[in-house]
Symmetry: C2
Subunit: 248 residues, 2 copies
């Protein structure tokens, strides 16, 4: 193998967002912890000038899925490449076990790059470029650095071993109170919002150190509503009950 | 959906390489046009200070595959985000058809980010961190910005439609001349180098506008050898003949 001399590590690259995400997730709390966990989640990727040229997406409608490379722009105040720790505690492991930052998909990583596989459901080029997406895990306002088509034969490792996260996380059952149900039923988007609430809450969006039933009422923002829920224990099973849905 | 006001597009992010690739591909010519096409291709990812902390890869050995986000550092002299064109001509389409840059995996794209799925075959933390990889498509010296574990359940779209590149490109048959065979047989790495040569040449690494048989002898560098080949037509079938292998 060729021995390439290592360069001084004072090289850096200046990258510019090509687009910004508008999504069902106005806040960080509640955003699914990987893409694909909430297929009902809608998002738009709005390309920014000068990247908003319809030619730049010519032929993209022949692909069903895209990779987005993005920046985890929320979080620690200081987000330079110098602000990271070698060990992180992923929620998937209960928030207590430390693993290497490169073993995780944590946002708190060198360069703060994220990667999500999303479904492409529409392309609108009437005024710039707006891609309609499903299944994302991106908070509204996320800056996107690149879009690539998903190539099934190059981007799939059929024999892969998935370490500490070998399969989808378990889902909690969701119960919707009559009061919340009335609010949902009165909305134009009642079907898709109901699906979104169920898919997001089933992941148990609480901080990893919270376990089992709690008296506390949590609130997460989805689209333009505040979804208030509690975590209950019923017949030895943890479940999430939506107690109220408040608009605005 | 939340309408996020678009920010001024004068935001930018400064990213620092976390590591550098040493691979079987000293030059750009001959590098497979996606990861996974040459499983015999070996590479090391050498982490750079301060990212070369063994803690940063703790637990990574429980994963079989990794995503590398990297920079296409070779190519046009000016590689800033401003240097791109909305349309590109991918080799896969014969080099004549223009598609959108975001419909392609072309290196000549805004921000020049690349994404490759590679197999992780070893981790050496005796002196910094060196990851042994297989199946990469990265030229030696490629700066890597991020490593993420491949999560089969989040990173696979089983029902995906792959647009203009729905499956692996076809492979040409390879013939190795007696002269080249003698050189190969005399090497310690004869088995793996032979596989590498076959896998790389089967992709027809010539520029896309070259088609069919040619008198010309091409040379590509793999590991420390120059592999010289011709493209022949035999019984109506295009094949590649390795005419010589020259060390050094």
């Amino acid at each position: 193998m060729n021995q390439t001399p290592l360069p001084d590590n004072d090289i850096s690259y200046t990258l510019t967002p090509i687009g910004i995400v508008e999504s069902d997730f106005p806040d960080k709390f509640g955003v699914p912890r990987q893409a694909g966990l909430a297929p009902a989640a809608k998002a738009s990727l709005v390309l920014l000038p000068p990247f908003d040229d319809p030619l730049a997406v010519r032929g993209l409608d022949a692909f069903s899925h895209l990779w987005l490379t993005f920046v985890f722009h929320l979080g620690p105040e200081q987000t330079g490449p110098g602000h990271w720790t070698p060990l992180v505690r992923p929620p998937r492991l209960g928030g207590n076990t430390r693993i290497g930052v490169f073993t995780s998909r944590s946002p708190n990583r060198p360069n703060r790059l994220g990667l999500s596989l999303v479904a492409l459901v529409g392309i609108d080029t009437r005024d710039g470029v707006r891609l309609a997406l499903r299944g994302g895990d991106l908070v509204s306002g996320t800056p996107v650095l690149d879009i690539k088509p998903y190539l099934p034969w190059a981007d799939t490792a059929s024999d892969a071993i998935g370490g500490f996260a070998p399969e989808r996380p378990p889902r909690l059952p969701i119960e919707i109170s009559p009061q919340a149900d009335v609010v949902l039923s009165g909305r134009d988007d009642h079907d898709s919002l109901r699906q979104l609430i169920i898919q997001v809450l089933a992941q148990d969006p609480r901080p990893a150190y919270r376990k089992g039933a709690e008296v506390r009422v949590y609130g997460i923002r989805l689209r333009d509503v505040d979804v208030r829920f509690r975590v209950l224990e019923q017949a030895g099973q943890t479940l999430i009950r939506v107690v109220d849905i408040v608009a605005g």
